[in-house]
Structures are given as structure tokens and as C-alpha cells.
């Protein structure tokens, strides 16, 4: 290899300097340790378990967002979709005793249908994704409002609560963590090693070139938005099981759309598309959850929380553009 080609290949095996995962693990551990010194309560098993569980819902939603951003899209509607799924599943369980497997079906069906709607608007009608999903953001939020009709979920049946908090078959690991592991493995495999995932990245690199190379770009776009919707609704279901509650502001109140974008970017996915880091997204969610919980422990007024999230996005995007600008 000549001196001019000294830059390491980005895909499929990044060089060590590109290993965001290690940096994220180190930074997360360091922040947790630092907060622990100030307030030892932070490092108890219960609290760490809380921090981890808290990041699971965001991780699941953000993995969908990662797929979308990798394709050079954006999905703002994940927040209201997550809320809609939590509300519909929770209310059906609370008032009609819908069994858990039924709720899983309902959540996935809502996600697929509404995610596909996003995809069709973007791909077939050629509306820019930021406009499309800003529109459906309001639409899906409105659906939650209509469906809930002033009520809210404050208690779910025991099967739901068990699914949200305990491990299956008496395992010590809570089910949501296992679900996340499965979803992460699937996304990692898809983006790194499946034709579908590589096509997603090709579209993110250069949609016109991907089309000319023979990819069905419109179909891929629709599939990715459908997957994003699916994961947002899965996240909503896990949320209602885990917390036992859902209101009309679930998802949107915490700005899950921004959080999911932030963690995807912090995790190493390029805002300009074409490169994704699945594990990075999960670790960045864990980092965000650590920081947000730490702020509570440090008694920082909640008003500062979103400022912290905003700072994180800026830092992440800045890092991403610097690398993009460094291209030969």
C-alpha cells in the first residue's frame, strides 16, 4: 500500500482510532465513577440496574433511527409513535385485559403500518424526510390524543409488569434487556453482513449511484422507515410494561426523537449517511441514561437536562463533520 493510501479502510473493519465503542465505555464508566465519589448512592446495584433499564427503551427506538440516518434520512415521528404504541397497548390491557402476546401483535402492527406510511410519503411522493416526519409527528400525536380520550394508563396487568421488569424463566436478566440484545444483534448483522443492510448504506452514500447500480432505492427507503416505526412501537410497548404508565406526552415529553438522533450520532453514525455504528448507538444510550440519572443525583434542576442533550448533539455532529471534511 502506498503512502497516499495510508488511510485505513472504513468498512467493514474500522481501525482502532475509529472505535467509538471503547471511548463510549470509558467515558460512561468514568462519569459513573465520578458521580459515585460525590454521591455513593449512584453506584448501588439498584441504581445501576435502573440506569441500564432506563436506556433500553431509548436504545430500541434509536436503533431504528440509526438505520434511517445511515440511509441519509431522519425520522422525527418515532417519539409520538412510541407514545401511541404505549397508550394503545396499555389501555387495551388495562380496560380490555388484552393478553401480552396480543399487545405485541398490536404494537408491531401499528409500527409497521405507520412506519410504512412515512416511507411511502418519503419514497413515492418524494417529500423530504424531515418535512414528512414532522407532519406525521403531529398526526401520530393526534391519534394518541384521540384514542386516549382523556384517560391514561396507570396500571398494567401483572404479566405486563413481569415482562417489563423480571427475567424470563427466572433468569436474573430483565426481559427488556434480552429484547434489546436481540434487536441489537439483528441490526448489527443486518447493517454489517446482510444484503439489505449494505444496500441501506449504499443508498446513504449516494442514492443516485445506488439506483444506477441496480438497487431498488424506493423499496429500501420504505422498508427502513417501516423498521424504524416497528422499533419505535416495540420501544413503546416495553416502556408501558416497564413503567406501568402511559400518557399523551409519553415519548414526545422526553423528546425521544432528539434523544434518538443524538445517541445515534454520538454512537458514530454519520449524519450525512453511509456509515452506521449499531453498538455505538446502544452504548451512547447507556451514556445518556447515566448522565441524565447523574444529574438527578447531583440535584441539577431538570431545566438543564435538555441543554445537556443539546450539547451532546452538537459535539457529536461536530465530530462527524470534521471527519467528513477530512475526506481526501
Amino acid at each position: 500500500m502506498s503512502a497516499a493510501a495510508a488511510r485505513p479502510a472504513a468498512d467493514p473493519r474500522p481501525g482502532w482510532r475509529d472505535r467509538r465503542e471503547l471511548v463510549l465505555v470509558a467515558v460512561t464508566a468514568a462519569s459513573a465513577g465520578a458521580v459515585g465519589i460525590v454521591n455513593p448512592g449512584f453506584l448501588t446495584v439498584e441504581n445501576l440496574r435502573f440506569v441500564a433499564l432506563n436506556s433500553v427503551v431509548l436504545s430500541i427506538v434509536a436503533l431504528g433511527q440509526t438505520l434511517v440516518i445511515a440511509m441519509r434520512g431522519i425520522d422525527l415521528s418515532v417519539a409520538p409513535l412510541m407514545g401511541l404504541s404505549a397508550m394503545v397497548c396499555g389501555l387495551l390491557a388495562q380496560t380490555h385485559g388484552l393478553p401480552l402476546w396480543g399487545a405485541v401483535g398490536v404494537a408491531l402492527a401499528i409500527g409497521l403500518a405507520l412506519g410504512t406510511l412515512n416511507g411511502v410519503l418519503v419514497a413515492a411522493l418524494n417529500i423530504p424526510p424531515i418535512i414528512t416526519t414532522l407532519g406525521t409527528y403531529s398526526l401520530f400525536g393526534g391519534l394518541t390524543f384521540l384514542y386516549s380520550d382523556g384517560t391514561q394508563v396507570d396500571q398494567v396487568p401483572p404479566a405486563y409488569a413481569a415482562f417489563g421488569n423480571a427475567g424470563p424463566l427466572g433468569l436474573p436478566v430483565p426481559t427488556p434487556v434480552l429484547v434489546l440484545l436481540l434487536v441489537t444483534a439483528a441490526c448489527w448483522f443486518a447493517l454489517g453482513h446482510s444484503r439489505f443492510g449494505r444496500a441501506v448504506l449504499a443508498v446513504g452514500n449516494n442514492a443516485a449511484a445506488a439506483y444506477n447500480a441496480g438497487l431498488r432505492v424506493a423499496v429500501i427507503r420504505i422498508q427502513v422507515y417501516a423498521l424504524s416505526g416497528l422499533l419505535a412501537c416495540l420501544g413503546g410497548l416495553v416502556f408501558v410494561c416497564y413503567t406501568g404508565s402511559a400518557t399523551v406526552t409519553t415519548g414526545t415529553g422526553d423528546h425521544v426523537e432528539l434523544q434518538s438522533i443524538a445517541v445515534a450520532l454520538v454512537g458514530g453514525t454519520l449524519i450525512a449517511g453511509g456509515r452506521a455504528n449499531v453498538l455505538g448507538t446502544v452504548l451512547a444510550s447507556l451514556f445518556l441514561s447515566t448522565v441524565l440519572t447523574a444529574l438527578v443525583f447531583l440535584q441539577v434542576p431538570p431545566i438543564w437536562y435538555s441543554a445537556g442533550e443539546g450539547l451532546m448533539i452538537l459535539v457529536a455532529v461536530r465530530g462527524g463533520t470534521r471527519r467528513a471534511a477530512g475526506r481526501a
Partner: protein, 518 residues
């Protein structure tokens, strides 16, 4: 005759266009083209910028639907709904602007849309090992020494083009259309490409090719089709090629040939002086001085470091050592904005990546170079001024367009190049570095650009011209520096300048005693 054609047209690999028409809105780009592509033959398409050559190829390759007409493959009508449909039928278009997937590896860009997979415990997965091996084999078969693991964004234009050729073969496509593959290549690389094309032809592939370079067209073609304003005005088969006739059919007017410029316009005052410049990587110890009104050429192979030298002088690449003086003042290390303010501009060779803003209109592109100046004057450019400036540019550079408000994206490749060139020239620079100024520009417009360069030199502008076409340097330059592997190895001036001398100057540089430092 016609019975013979009917029999031929049923052959596999016989690809015919019949009455192909294409309109964009009210503009008719193709007005009923009928053309036969035959196995084992090379049909070349020539024509001015904007004549409709690329559009025809895109239709043949399923990238753009025709407004009317039929395509027949081996005698049977085919409808190509998408590029993948064309690939499935063995038709591949090597595009005019190679399309990069910057974050993917070279191997993967070659296989996009057709990644090899193998079974695994988790279902079918991409077979990276097989993909890399096959990519490497395809590049090796064409004797292209490109590392398949490099990110595609690190490839030069010439390499991107080469990778595209290998890609066509990889997909087993036997009808291959090349849209101006040679315009970014040097004569050496063109020979390489032609040897590949000859091999494909001998193997029975159906080939077609677009080029503005008459010499190479005469060398490689079996048939030449001339397109003018969307009409096929001439189809001639070897051996009845006739250069003068082709030219006049193409342009529709007789062309005067000016082989070498008459006299130098160089004045005494030095405009740009470069001393001992190195970037510590691609070139070292480069020095020259450029006087007002002088045209200095940089000759060399693609990859010799000429673009890197230009970029370093212009301030977009850091210099490791050396000095750049502009009108006597040291400007080394200033960024390109400062350079532009001081009257130095650089017109890059790769308009797709730098310079051209495709979604913006012609006027916006032409005047974008002026905005900085306007802002500093705290004034505004009136719409009327903008229109006047861009109308002048469109006229001077013979840009073929539907109107000044047409987005650049809709212009043909050569016309985009002219707009980028015009943009920099309207800023009225004192020193201009032109990197491959006529890449992709047709014969008629080429001569126009040469005349403009002459005129600018007469007005006292100092010009540094990088070109891979020896004839172009001979036509334009007062003096030529030959660059080999990042060093100045020879200087030619006055009567010493001839195409043969230029080519010899860098080709013999490989021998240790061959160089004479300037």
C-alpha cells in the same frame, strides 16, 4: 440488404434503438434516433456538448425512460424499467461522472446491488472474502493495481473510472456503454483502456463509446455516429472515416485549426513566484515563476502530483516547506479565501466534487464567485446585474442551456464544466490556475476556450494550465514544466515545444539522468 439486417438483428448482443425520442418539458433532446449496436463492434458517438449523447446512453441503459421509440435486443422489443432491468439483460453503462459511494470499500462499491452471499447459521450473509477475492481478480484482469480495501473516497477520478470498467465485467454484462471514459485519463491510461476494449471486442462484446477526442475515436472505432441537436446526422463505418467531414457534421460549421499560439504576451512583471515548495508527501522542491500575460503549462502523467501542487499553491493543502509569492507578497499558508481576494483562482478538474453546485441555477453558479466581493462592498448584486453577468458568461463560453434559470444538474457534462470555468473567470483574477480546463468539452467549444485563454493572457492575466493532453499544452503555453513523481524534471519553451517533446519530457524522466531541474 434489409433481409441481411433482419438476420443480423436477431443475433444475441445485437442491440438496436428505433426512433428513440426524449423530451424534457418543451425541450426535445432526442428527435428520433435509430442506431444499431452489434456484437464484436465498437460504435462511437460524437457530438457537441448538449447534443444528447449521454441522454441516449441513459435511455439505452434503463436510467431514463424514453418519450417514444423502441429498444430491441436480439430482435425482440425490450422495456427497461430500471438500471437493474438493464443489468439483468447484460447492459451496463459506465457513467460520465463515476458515481462514488465514499464510505464503502472499493470492493463493495463494485458489488453494490449484487453482493455475493453465503449461507450461515443466521441466514444468508454477505461473503466478504469471496467479494474481495473476486473484486481483486477483476481488477487484476485489467491490470489495475488498486487496493480493494481502500475507502472509495480515496480514489482519483482515473481510478474511479477504471473501477467502473471492472464493475461492468464483474456483472457479466456483454453490452457495455462508456460515456466519455477517456476524458479524465492520460494518453498512457487511454491506451490501457483501449487494450481492454479490444479484448472485449475480440470476445464478442457489444461496445459503444462517447468521446470528444478525434484521434482516439479514429483509432478505436468500427463505426462513428454523429449526433447534432438530438438528430443522428451521420453514421460512417471504417474505413471511410474522414476527420474533416466528421468535424463539420458535428459542429455544422467549418472549424479553423490553430496548432500553436502565435506570440507570447508575457510581460516582465512577475505575478506568481513559487520557491522550493513541498507538501512532504506527493511533491518536493517545486519552483517556478509566472509572469503577467504568460501561460505556463504543467505536463505529466495523472498522479504525477500536478493537482497537488496547484492545490498547495492555492492554499487548500498545507505546504511543508517553501514559499509562494503573489505579486511580490509572501502568501504561503494563507487559506483559499484570502488567495481569491488577492486575485488568485483555481479552477479544479473534478467539477462534481468541487465548484459546481448542481441544484442551483446557472446564474447562481456563475455569480457565486462574486458574492464575497459584493458583501465586502456592503452592497447587493441586483438581479439585473446577475442576469447580465451570467448571460455574458453563457454567450462567451457557448453554454448550451434552456435558460439562465436552468439548474446546473440539467446541463450536459461539458456544459457544466463551462459554467464552472465561467464562474471563476467572472471574478477577474490576476492569476488563474486551470486544472484540465477542457475536460469533457467538445471540439468546437474547446477552441473557444483556448481563444478566451489567449485573450485573458493578452489582458495581462497570468495562467498556469494543467493538462493531460499534450496538444492542448502545445496550443496554449509559452513555457511547459514537466512533472514526474512530484518533481520538475524538464522545462520546455519557445520552439522546443511540440506534442512529441512534451510526452518525451516526462516519459524519459524515469531514467536517472533524464531530468533537468528548472
Amino acid at each position: 440488404m434489409s433481409a441481411q439486417r433482419d438476420a443480423d438483428s436477431a443475433m444475441p448482443g445485437f442491440y438496436a434503438a428505433q426512433g428513440i425520442r426524449k423530451s424534457y418539458g418543451a425541450i426535445q433532446v432526442l428527435k428520433g434516433i435509430s442506431l444499431d449496436l452489434k456484437p464484436g463492434r465498437m460504435v462511437t458517438i460524437m457530438g457537441e456538448n448538449g447534443a444528447g449523447k449521454s441522454t441516449l446512453f441513459k435511455i439505452l441503459a434503463g436510467q431514463v425512460p424514453p418519450t417514444g421509440g423502441t429498444l430491441r435486443l436480439a430482435g425482440a422489443p425490450v422495456a427497461l424499467a430500471s438500471p437493474s432491468a438493464a443489468h439483468a439483460r447484460g447492459i451496463y453503462l459506465v457513467p460520465q461522472e463515476p458515481a462514488l459511494l465514499p464510505e464503502l470499500s472499493v470492493a463493495e462499491t463494485m458489488f453494490v446491488g449484487a453482493l455475493p452471499t453465503r449461507g450461515g447459521p443466521l441466514g444468508r450473509r454477505v461473503d466478504w472474502a469471496a467479494m474481495r477475492a473476486r473484486a481483486r481478480a477483476a481488477l487484476d484482469a485489467l491490470e489495475l493495481p488498486i487496493d480493494v480495501d481502500r475507502p472509495a473516497r480515496t480514489l482519483s477520478i482515473a481510478q474511479q473510472q477504471q473501477v467502473e470498467c471492472a464493475k461492468a465485467l464483474l456483472r457479466g454484462c456483454r453490452i457495455i456503454l462508456f460515456d466519455e471514459p477517456t476524458s479524465p485519463l492520460t494518453s498512457h491510461e487511454v491506451e490501457h483502456l483501449f487494450s481492454i476494449m479490444r479484448r472485449l471486442k475480440a470476445d464478442g462484446c457489444t461496445l459503444s463509446f462517447i468521446s470528444h477526442r478525434m484521434d482516439e475515436v479514429l483509432e478505436i472505432s468500427d463505426e462513428i455516429a454523429v449526433l447534432r441537436d438530438g438528430v443522428l446526422v451521420d453514421v460512417v463505418a471504417r474505413p471511410s472515416f474522414d476527420r474533416a467531414r466528421l468535424l463539420s457534421r458535428m459542429v455544422g460549421r467549418p472549424l479553423k485549426a490553430v496548432p500553436r499560439r502565435a506570440a507570447s504576451n508575457a510581460r516582465d512583471e512577475v505575478a506568481l513566484e513559487v520557491r522550493g515548495l513541498s507538501d512532504g508527501l506527493r511533491f518536493a522542491d517545486v519552483g517556478f515563476s509566472l509572469r503577467r500575460g504568460e501561460v505556463l503549462g504543467l505536463a505529466g502523467l495523472v498522479g504525477a502530483g500536478r493537482t497537488e501542487i496547484a492545490e498547495t499553491v492555492f492554499g487548500v493543502r498545507p505546504a511543508a516547506a517553501g514559499e509562494v509569492r503573489l505579486g511580490g507578497a509572501v502568501v504561503t499558508g494563507l487559506d483559499c479565501h484570502a488567495m481569491i481576494r488577492r486575485g488568485l483562482v483555481y479552477v479544479p478538474e473534478d467539477r462534481a466534487r468541487h465548484g459546481a453546485v448542481l441544484p442551483m441555477t446557472i446564474t447562481e453558479n456563475v455569480t457565486s464567485g462574486l458574492l464575497d466581493r459584493v458583501r465586502r462592498r456592503a452592497g447587493l448584486l441586483s438581479a439585473r446585474d446577475e442576469a447580465r453577468i451570467s448571460a455574458a458568461a453563457v454567450r462567451d463560453f457557448r453554454v448550451r442551456c434552456a435558460g439562465l434559470d436552468q439548474p446546473l444538474r440539467e446541463l450536459s457534462g461539458g456544459n457544466q464544466q463551462k459554467v464552472v470555468f465561467a464562474k471563476w473567470m467572472t471574478t477577474g483574477p490576476r492569476v488563474a490556475i486551470l486544472d484540465e480546463p477542457t475536460r469533457g468539452v467538445d471540439v468546437g467549444a474547446k477552441e473557444d476556450i483556448y481563444e478566451m485563454i489567449d485573450a485573458m493572457a493578452r489582458d495581462g492575466m497570468a495562467l498556469l494550465v494543467i493538462s493531460s493532453e499534450s496538444e492542448e499544452l502545445v496550443r496554449l503555453c509559452d513555457r511547459i514544466l514537466s512533472i514526474y513523481e512530484g518533481r520538475v524534471v524538464a522545462e520546455l519553451s519557445g520552439a522546443d515545444i511540440s506534442p512529441a517533446a512534451v510526452a518525451r519530457s516526462y516519459l524519459t524522466a524515469a531514467a536517472p539522468s533524464g531530468g533537468v531541474a528548472a
